[in-house]
């Protein structure tokens, strides 16, 4: 019973997060549009020819994130192994020792 309640609360919180995500996305679109437009009205001091290209930083950022996200999809299939792959010579599959922590919880 308690577990069901807890799961319901967690799902509700996840839905709330998704709504916030949507709001953040809309806000980001507005901010990005403004920043893109503003660049045409400011004077930039540049050393390289490519620095003068309008929207270069914006497009580099978009390309970088897309490369990383899609690159990671490929790399994960090649590089990821189970946590105990290096065990017992590594800490990945170990629990952190209790003695070094003070695992206190709140009452709510």
């Amino acid at each position: 019973m308690m577990d069901n309640q807890k799961e319901k609360n967690m799902n509700a919180s996840h839905k709330q997060n998704n709504m916030r995500f949507g709001l953040v996305f809309k806000l980001l679109i507005i901010i990005c549009s403004m920043l893109f437009v503003v660049e045409f009205f400011i004077k930039k001091k540049t050393s390289l020819a490519i620095e003068a290209i309008p929207g270069l930083h914006a497009s580099t950022a978009l390309v970088a994130i897309f490369i990383i996200v899609f690159g990671v999809r490929i790399l994960r299939s090649v590089l990821s192994l189970s946590e105990d792959y290096y065990a017992p010579g590594a800490v990945d599959s170990e629990r952190y020792p209790q003695k070094d922590t003070k695992r206190e919880v709140t009452n709510d």
């Binding site: 807890k6 967690m10 270069l56 950022a61 994960r76 189970s82």
Partner: protein, 565 residues
């Protein structure tokens, strides 16, 4: 010539005293006081060389005070203070002594006026820091510590080899700018490169740092790699090769930082990326770029420590540091969450935060030097840093799907350490001249021009937009429990297997050879026994004659050999 002692002395002496003190307020006061005293002492030392010591016929200069060594010395003292404040609850004497001696060795190394003094403190950092890993007291930590120690000592041995060859070539042990070319300078360069986590030499950072204790990683992240940055800035400024090495360091680990599940290891990869920025700056070698290196070393120590302290606080309360096991902690750890966001904003180089004022120096230095490709690579790395350090780390711990964990807020001393560090991240961001006045070269650089601010904001907000867009489309892979293959696989799995394979063959060959040799020897011995033994023919028939004959043969052989030679 100045008559001074090295500030390392304060740390090393205190570590000896702490080793014999029981856990008390006095011990805590010493732990916090020694970095403060050392920092004040550094501010008061006149510029120049000094602290001369005679060792094995060599004149060592333990103190070279200039603006480059002072800025590194000061930030090391501050990092030691913050690290000790954060670790105030720790009663383990070994960790406290190791942390002080480690900080002292790093401070001693940045003031070293010659290569031998540098080597001694260089090895000091290796020997003392490993205890912060072993203090975890698990089998995994023991093995990881051994790997770490081998690599660190290896770096020292290569440095020593380089120093000896350099002395033979030039007759000098002065630690000044060098040019790559001779075997000696290559050895020294590689030794620095190992500690600076050059590509393919980098895995000790991601292997060892997350295996240390909670407080240990905060301390570890501040010294070794930044000492290597200092050594490269001192020894190899303007070495073009470093520009390309740095660019690879700044770009490639981004993929690993995104895949990684352990948030402390994400930050270790992020550390590697920021080292890349510094290495590029050293390679460019202009005054602007070298100012950027020093500034970024300071700023990076601050914000990386802040992020590690925040994740460390989560770990202290939950025992967990993996993205798959965390989430939703913002409800019960709001102060830690806020402080981690400040660290994330500084790491992402948002204007008004410290990362912006230091990264901007390096990127401007790179563009002014005309390295368009490398400059683009640094932009790429800046956008990626926003994703894994700016968004992923705080999101996974504090905002991701509720893990059900309800830990208490971090202890007061941890919060204080984080608040002080976060304040500096903001203060430097708003008033960059506080930092710029400490830089090695005079500068009137201002990061807050409209062009720089708008383009940086563009980079960051468009990167954020891309991340949110891809997340909404479910194109970002969820975190999974895993380890990821990196170059360390070669010495953790491949080399032991290769050695095992060859060792097996060598063992078999040895066994066959041993059998043959033993068989032959036995036959010779039994033959001799049958002729010369108590029952032998020689013994029964020619007891004296056999001996005389043997001596005659030996004498003849000696005469022949003597005659021929």
């Amino acid at each position: 010539m100045i008559d001074v002692i090295s500030p390392a002395f304060f740390f090393l002496m205190t570590s000896v005293v702490v080793a014999f003190l029981p856990y008390s307020m006095f011990r805590s006061a010493l732990l916090l006081g020694s970095p403060v005293v050392a920092g004040l002492y550094i501010l008061d030392i006149p510029m120049g060389f000094g602290g001369t010591v005679e060792l094995a016929g060599l004149t060592l200069e333990t103190m070279r005070v200039d603006k480059l060594s002072v800025i590194f010395g000061l930030i090391f003292c501050f990092a030691a203070f913050i690290g000790n404040l954060y670790a105030l609850h720790v009663k383990d004497k070994i960790q406290q002594v190791a942390a002080l001696a480690y900080a002292g060795s790093a401070v001693g190394a940045v003031f070293a006026g010659d290569l031998v003094t540098l080597f001694l403190f260089w090895e000091g950092t290796a020997l003392t820091s490993v205890f912060l890993i072993w203090a975890r007291q698990t089998e995994g930590a023991y093995h990881t510590g051994m790997r770490y120690l081998i690599i660190q000592i290896g770096s020292g041995v290569i440095l020593l080899g380089g120093v000896v060859m350099f002395y033979r070539e030039t007759g000098s042990i002065a630690f000044d700018a060098m040019t790559l070319g001779s075997m000696a300078t290559w050895f020294i360069f590689i030794a620095f490169g190992i500690k600076c986590a050059f590509p393919l030499l980098h895995n000790w950072v991601q292997d060892a740092y997350p295996a240390s204790t909670i407080t240990g990683m905060v301390i570890l992240s501040s010294f070794t790699t930044k000492l290597a940055v200092y050594a490269l800035a001192r020894g190899f400024p303007g070495t073009e090769l470093l520009i390309y090495i740095g660019a690879i360091m700044a770009v490639f680990p981004n993929f690993y930082a995104v895949i990684e599940n352990d948030l402390r290891r994400v930050l270790a990869y992020s550390l590697n990326i920021q080292l890349g920025f510094m290495v590029v700056g050293i390679g460019v070698g202009t005054e602007l770029a070298l100012n950027g290196v020093a500034a970024h070393a300071v700023v990076h120590i601050l914000y990386k420590a802040l992020l590690l302290m925040a994740i460390g606080a989560v770990m202290y309360r939950t025992g967990k540091s993996k993205a798959t096991e965390l989430g939703g902690l913002s409800k019960t750890m709001p102060i830690t969450m806020m402080l981690s966001i400040i660290g994330a904003l500084a790491a992402s180089a948002f204007p008004l935060f410290s990362g912006f004022v230091s990264k901007s120096l390096i990127t401007s230095g790179t563009s002014e030097a005309g390295h368009a490709g490398v400059w683009l690579a640094l932009l790429f790395a800046s956008a990626a840093a926003l994703y894994h350090t700016g968004v992923k780390v705080p999101y996974a711990a504090f905002f991701a799907k509720d893990s059900g964990l309800r830990p208490k807020e971090a202890p007061t001393h941890m919060l204080w350490a984080m608040v002080i560090t976060a304040s500096l991240c903001v203060l430097i961001g708003i008033f960059p001249n506080i930092l710029y006045s400490l830089l090695p070269f005079e500068t009137n650089y201002s990061p807050y021009s409209a062009g720089k601010v708008i383009t940086q904001l563009q980079l960051l907000f468009f990167a954020a937009l891309a991340v949110v867009f891809l997340a909404r489309k479910d194109l970002i892979l969820p975190e999974v429990k895993s380890v990821n293959l990196d170059f360390d696989w070669t010495y953790r799995k491949l080399l032991p297997r290769v050695f095992g394979f060859f060792a097996g063959y060598i063992m078999r060959i040895w066994q066959v050879l041993s059998f043959i040799i033993m068989f032959k020897l036995k036959r010779i011995v039994s033959g001799l026994y049958s002729s010369h033994g108590p029952e032998g023919r020689m013994a029964s028939v020619w007891p004296t004659g056999a001996m005389v004959l043997s001596i005659a043969i030996i004498l003849t052989a000696t005469l022949v050999v003597n005659f021929l030679s």
